[in-house]
Symmetry: C2
Subunit: 244 residues, 2 copies
DNA sequence: CAGTGGTCTAGACCACTAT
DNA sequence: TAGTGGTCTAGACCACTGC
């Protein structure tokens, strides 16, 4: 791939990653200490340190005082990969279909603390409850039931979601800072089956998402996709953890 | 919440994150330039730079020469969250059950290029095909069918997987550097249902995983969980992207 | 041109920990 | 005690880009 147009600390990082990726430096292998790398690359300690610190933050190496730096024995990414959470209108459009959101229910009510999906809302809060169907060329693509905090997003109460689906609207108006997701597989019940136009019992992929803005709960949403319609994709590449 | 025991650059980072998380600095807001932060915290530019660089790498702010640093308008994490991929023996053990892997099939064969899950293997390669059941206290917990490249892991051919499940064995012997995952929902077919001891048609969460070591394909595995048995969990917190 | 970030230097002091 | 990483300083030069 490319070359030269990188900073020195980036080149040091890349070279170490290459040795690890090729197996030349197996898990547990000791990486030369900073002063050796300083000599090898003829640079200051800060530069070496920047490269090694980045590798440590990415979980590729482990650094221990007095002992040195080592190729990580346990890939932390083993259990953590980047998951793409779908923006449904975007997914539908990318597949070449026309997208539409069909609202089925809208009401303002108090949150029910005993319900898992809404237990994070303030007792004094009110939530806008929205049920709807995401359509691709007029055919049901996914079901959505959502709660929006009136405290976090008062403008949502009067918003029109026929042009912009609630999820997209929220992203623009109330960006979140924290999110939790759960991914499940369920058999479609009678209502699901009717709305999705599938047989009762069909396997559906369900995503539960809850978001916060700081400490303030923003939304809780459950989206159901027909199993044969949609897969989630996740991946991990050592070295390009972000900005890839 | 802890305090004091943090480095200065960490405290600067945390304070900026707090202002962003609270909405005090909304998306698009300009963050004070480095020289102002140097004065405010009475420190050198390197220290301020370290804090801001970390925030930029986490996607929380965007930095542009001549213009300054700004709170990111579009959360890159919107569509990317950290997903925990389960290590099945660990999950079972954590739930307080005894774990066992029961091998159902083992054979060496050529990869079938037309099959999606094995198309990444070299035509000249041979794959060890393994089918098995993960048991929790003797009860089926998950099904697994796996292919292991003989080129990447020749020692696997003679390995005994009764003590260590194939996945765990591979982690120790042939760490991967790249992985791809697909998550689906399917209805259990007759065989699945028999092995998992559930009704035909029960919704199952299926994870397809393919891994590489550098350019060398290592393994392809499909794991099926009973929908009511297991949920995947993913989350994102701005600011504690790792190590958290 | 001037203001900003990107990177680097050549030191320094401290914390930690195997020996 | 000695070797290692963690952090910081007080500068420096350069690249980029809006004015």
């Amino acid at each position: 791939m490319g070359s030269a147009r990188k900073s020195l600390n980036q080149r040091i990082r890349t070279e170490i990653e290459r040795r690890i990726g090729s197996g030349q430096w197996p898990p547990g292998h000791r990486i030369p200490p900073e002063h050796e790398l300083m000599a090898k690359y003829d640079c200051s300690r800060m530069t070496v340190s920047k490269a090694l610190t980045a590798l440590a933050q990415a979980g590729i190496i482990e650094r221990r005082r007095r002992l040195g730096s080592f190729v990580a024995r346990q890939h932390p990414h083993l259990e953590q990969v980047a998951l793409d959470i779908p923006d449904i209108p975007q997914v539908v459009t990318e597949r070449g279909f026309s997208y539409a959101y069909q609202e089925r229910l809208r009401r303002l009510r108090a949150p029910v603390p005993s319900n898992d999906q809404e237990s994070h809302f303030d007792a004094g809060d009110r939530v806008l409850e929205l049920h709807g169907v995401h359509l691709a060329d007029g055919t049901p693509f996914a079901l959505e039931s959502r709660l929006i905090s009136a405290l976090a997003a008062p403008e949502a109460l009067g918003a029109d979601f026929s042009a912009t689906a609630p999820g997209s609207w929220l992203l623009e108006h109330v960006p979140w800072t924290r999110a939790e997701h759960r991914i499940r597989a369920v058999n479609a019940d009678a209502l699901d089956a009717t709305l999705l136009e599938v047989d009762v019992g069909a396997a559906c992929l369900v995503i539960d998402r809850r978001t916060w803005r700081g400490a303030q709960p923003v939304t809780a949403v459950t989206q159901a996709f027909l199993g044969t319609n949609y897969d989630l994709v996740a991946r991990f590449s050592a070295g390009s953890s972000r900005r890839g």
